[in-house]
Subunit: 384 residues, 4 copies
């Protein structure tokens, strides 16, 4: 029995790997282990452990690591603190592989810990190109990883160019798309019980009317601009006259800027038809993506799941630069007029046909299968 | 005035960057800052701060970070602890660039800290190929670095293949060679006061007689083998009948194995003509390299400075795999007979002519000059 | 020149020691050093560094240490993280004495760091008796401290009973009272520009009308009850019909409960005459205490500064148990009716005469003077 | 089932609590949990986990925390690092009580972690009086502990004076004496296989001849003096003409001084009849204490177990100041002549009768029994 450990830094990590976790758990030759860390353990952003248990998983180790403060120095301290805790956790669990997901800063902690401890690292969502420090983190993780599970061919080719052995680069598709695939097959309808279930703040407009969905994160290396940027986005959305559902951002440097911007706009425009939610479950969010008139912001979901779902999407600013995208995405600078015009175009167009750029819904099974068989030397060597 | 900060994790780091530090300190447009961490601060391996002060430098910040224990988990904890302390130090110093050297595990802490804090990273000795976890660390640092100072063209080409912008890859040569160049110009003679100055243990043979110089480090991913390997090396050396000077290893996972091996051999062979030193100053070591009949072990110095000096060198095992080498190096497996035969060949051959593979002695000045002028965006982007 | 270092974990620490800092800075034989840590460095709770600079001080070292999460485990991690950073800071500063204030959990980090590093510890506000984990922390700090500056005789006697040398227990009064003394001499009037200066949320009632002032913190060992308790307090206040100014709590385990309680009450009672402020400067708060009809909650300010000012105060629950109090305080359980009746009594009574239980306004000068002369062995020994 | 967790920072901790661990493990109403940390996990000082397993216990959690470096700042970093890891461990284990032993610096980490997390703390060996920073640590732990298990009545009285509730101060005797009691009942003879079993360095003199046993630790607050002190001790011992067995010290600030002193003396006096052992098992050490002509140094074992065994003991310097002692101990300053004369007196006297100052051999059972029944509020309150 191979022991496959997954590090989950937060909800986004979880929905990006859940289908693989399920497949590992069900695989006869694999045992699943889970380490929770980062935002996954702070009430403010939703207790992931409860969700895990509800989904039939459990947390083998928990590492409290999120350092407060809306500055880059906090990201470093979170990563260092994570490394300390994850080291003990890995020594306890002794996995054969550690799966790390994507490119958030705290994922570096898990990656370095495993690699230094001679534990093989498997990496999903590598090889993509974006803005912010995530760009460096993602490729650095690739240089530590022993097995690569990129979401599409473009990303896989980039990993090979980075000097990784082609035989250990497996283009499996994105496990987030698996999840979307399964979910929308079960129930694609608009979730009408949002207010009862998730509260939030702001007027309770009619959820059967058309609405915009806003999800915007701070861009680390432009830290300080976050508040101005979110206000421009909101103002562009308000000009369309549609109702607006807005989501609170993740805990990154710059988060406070976004949160303050949202709060300030709401206080200054008490009549604005904006309802803000904190921590909507991913399934609910996916069904909102299926039903929104347009997704606005800089979340990767618009590009990734959006391609599969066909969600009209306005992608703002540099955060997703370089990420391969389908026809459902219109890019805009952080400029109110550009954003407004792009949204109007998307509203006029309506839903797009599905494009399988980021997978066909079966990535998780492929990951489990490969990890049950792959033989890879713990000593890496660049190929050129 | 640009502030250029150097992170020094130990003596090896220092001799690899000292000439650049000097050039930065003397440059009219640059201010030098120094952060000491790792082995640099533990008595056991020599107090680097005293040496720095003696050389006209000072330590702006000190970060105690070395976690005890001869296991990979300690490497992770050291790195995490370093990250925590370096974050505060960088916030205090606010440098324009942080220079990180090479590929030791604790260098990762400084690299991640700076990159996350939007401080530009300059990396020396990137692009090379070796064994152990250093191989992954080196290339991961490249993916975080904004400016690259590889030691030779081969390494520079590799950095460009890794997707870095060619205009920020500067092949400057290795600053360690600068140091060797300056030193041997001043005094290439055998240091005859070793016993008086540095004590050590073992018989005090005549230093004007031919001797072997042994410097062997543990290979992390083969951790546990270290003791066996050093004993084979010593036995091969003893068979030559020459006197032996041996150095205690650095603090890595596996160090205890090497130390124990040396101790055990000496206890079991009380008559052996082996003298062991702890922490010889780099200058003394370099002059030993100039005068030894053969350097034996797996230190990078045999390949790097050895090429410049022309030291006959037997390089053992996988640690330096893939590193470009001159004609002065004969490789051997960790096999007593192979090692013995290689040493005999080198003794028969004698000193080699100098080869400038790793530089011509002026790398430090080039580094300072480039850092005083270079304009580079803090937001990195892979080129392909 | 003796170097006297002060550790400031947050604003409350600062107002508790500011007068001593001023006296140290002005003392001809002393140099002041400042380490900022904990809440002092997180935007969410106000950037103390700006305030310090504005007051003519500066931060010699900053230690990011506040770990997110509304659970006791976060308090431990904050303390551990603080210890790591404070160790480097103290090595850098090499003070003759470290002053630590009070009994918040992160103060333990500074205390242990200094004591282990053979730096003498001076402790203010020791010897008092309260509830929560602060009770244990305060007395443990006493056992590490070399010089004691209790706020009143009762506290001083208790420190002596704890086995400390009587000659190093100096009853100097509380430096917070110094501050109040100076401030109210300058300007005791109600600050009328609150809304313009500090924003806050809620209706902007007329500040010249009578108002209640609410400041309530979570009680750590009853964690989870926090939300219920604050709602009871608010409901009792609302029954009086007076306007209410309420303050957001500090970052402790349980804070989220208090914050959520306040938010929920406001959302459910949109017409409530409650205005909530985040991080009022201490001077403003003190002038509110001077002018409020009644201070309600469990802040130590009601007991300590309240005695000096004569503020009518209703002290709720166990948090201040055992703390010596003047006639200005009426205690109440966490019971809506009891709280309401106590408030009504206080409104009817009006302001009390000043009582110097916690000092006469000159503690800071005494502390500086003593620290410039005291000789105390770094090796402590219990007296019995 | 109550869960009773024990924190073990090293071998000394273990032999101080082993009999209680055994009794807890065998108690029908208790479950034993073990956290290993500090020296317990570093090869250099012996892997405690193997010993535990051999004794029928297991390590539920391991926390690598020992920071290298022979300076007080390393003690602080070790404690901070320990706190971070122990927090995760305690959250995982959720014990009803945490038992902490004695007064070593890293024990503070476990104590603070548990107390902050609302886990009741039981403390053994509190209330004693010694020198070094241990003195402050011990009493500070008392102020966090909920249940106290002092080794003798004198210590128990002191804990009560410190303001602890008398009903939770249980004078049970010292569990180390339990261990000695059991061991010597089984086999009190001199262990004759020392060289075969434990190697060590130095001449192999006849173990049936009379010998001195030397165990000396650095005194933290006099750090730097350690090397000089041990050399004086060795010289005094050598003057007696007896064979000498010397033990390497624990990892404290100052350890390197002791180690270097021993090494230096041996190198300078190659004929000296001194054999040095690293990490003798406690059982072997106890039997050496039973058979030595005189125990020399500053280990607490001379006073504590020595009283029970009747070992002639010369206690040097300030480290054990204030600790209650039997007639078997003669105190000496760190002065070669004084030490020599005291040793000669003890050799002349021979073994002493047993005194039960530190217990009768049944402390462990009492501890388990009390912890299975005691009801104690997690909220502490000083009694005066």
């Amino acid at each position: 029995m191979r022991k496959i450990c997954v590090f989950l830094g937060g909800r986004a990590n979880y929905s990006s790997i859940k289908s693989a976790m399920k497949a590992i758990k069900e695989h006869p030759d694999l045992t699943l282990q889970v380490i929770l860390g980062g935002q996954a353990l702070t009430d403010k952003f939703g207790d992931l452990e409860d969700i895990l248990i509800n989904d039939g998983f459990s947390a083998d180790e928990k590492v409290h690591m999120l350092v407060a403060g809306d500055k880059p120095v906090s990201m470093v301290k979170t990563t260092g603190l994570g490394m300390l805790g994850i080291a003990d956790a890995l020594e306890h669990l002794e996995p054969d592989f550690l799966i790390v997901v994507g490119d958030r800063y705290e994922v570096m902690a898990a990656t370095v810990a495993a690699a230094y401890m001679n534990i093989r690292v498997a990496h999903t969502m590598g090889g993509e190109v974006t803005g912010t420090i995530d760009e460096s983190i993602r490729h650095a993780i690739t240089k530590f990883a022993h097995v690569h599970f990129p979401a599409n061919k473009d990303a896989g080719d980039r990993i090979i160019k980075l000097g990784e052995e082609p035989e250990h680069v497996y283009v499996v598709g994105c496990p987030r798309v698996d999840h979307v695939h399964n979910l929308l097959e079960r129930d694609p309808s608009m979730p009408m019980d949002l207010y009862e279930e998730f509260g939030g703040v702001g007027p309770e407009f009619d959820l059967s009317e058309p609405f915009l969905l806003v999800s915007q994160h701070p861009v680390t290396t432009e830290y300080g601009e976050a508040k101005k940027q979110i206000i421009k986005t909101i103002e562009a959305c308000v000009r369309t006259g549609l109702n607006i559902i807005i989501l609170w951002p993740n805990a990154d440097a710059g988060t406070e800027g976004i949160s303050t911007g949202i709060r300030q706009y709401r206080e200054e425009h008490p009549g604005a038809r904006i309802h803000a939610f904190k921590n909507l479950p991913n399934d609910v969010y996916t069904r909102l993506m299926k039903n929104t008139a347009c997704l606005v912001g800089n979340s990767s979901s618009g590009i990734r799941e959006g391609a599969y779902i066909g969600t009209p999407c306005v992608n703002i600013g540099s955060r997703q630069n370089g990420r391969e995208r389908g026809q459902n995405v219109i890019d805009a600078d952080t400029d109110e007029d550009q954003i407004y015009e792009a949204i109007e175009k998307q509203i006029a167009h309506g839903p797009y046909p599905s494009e399988p750029i980021y997978g066909d819904g079966h990535a998780g099974e492929r990951i489990a299968d490969i990890l049950s068989k792959v033989e890879v030397n713990v000593q890496k060597r660049i190929v050129y």
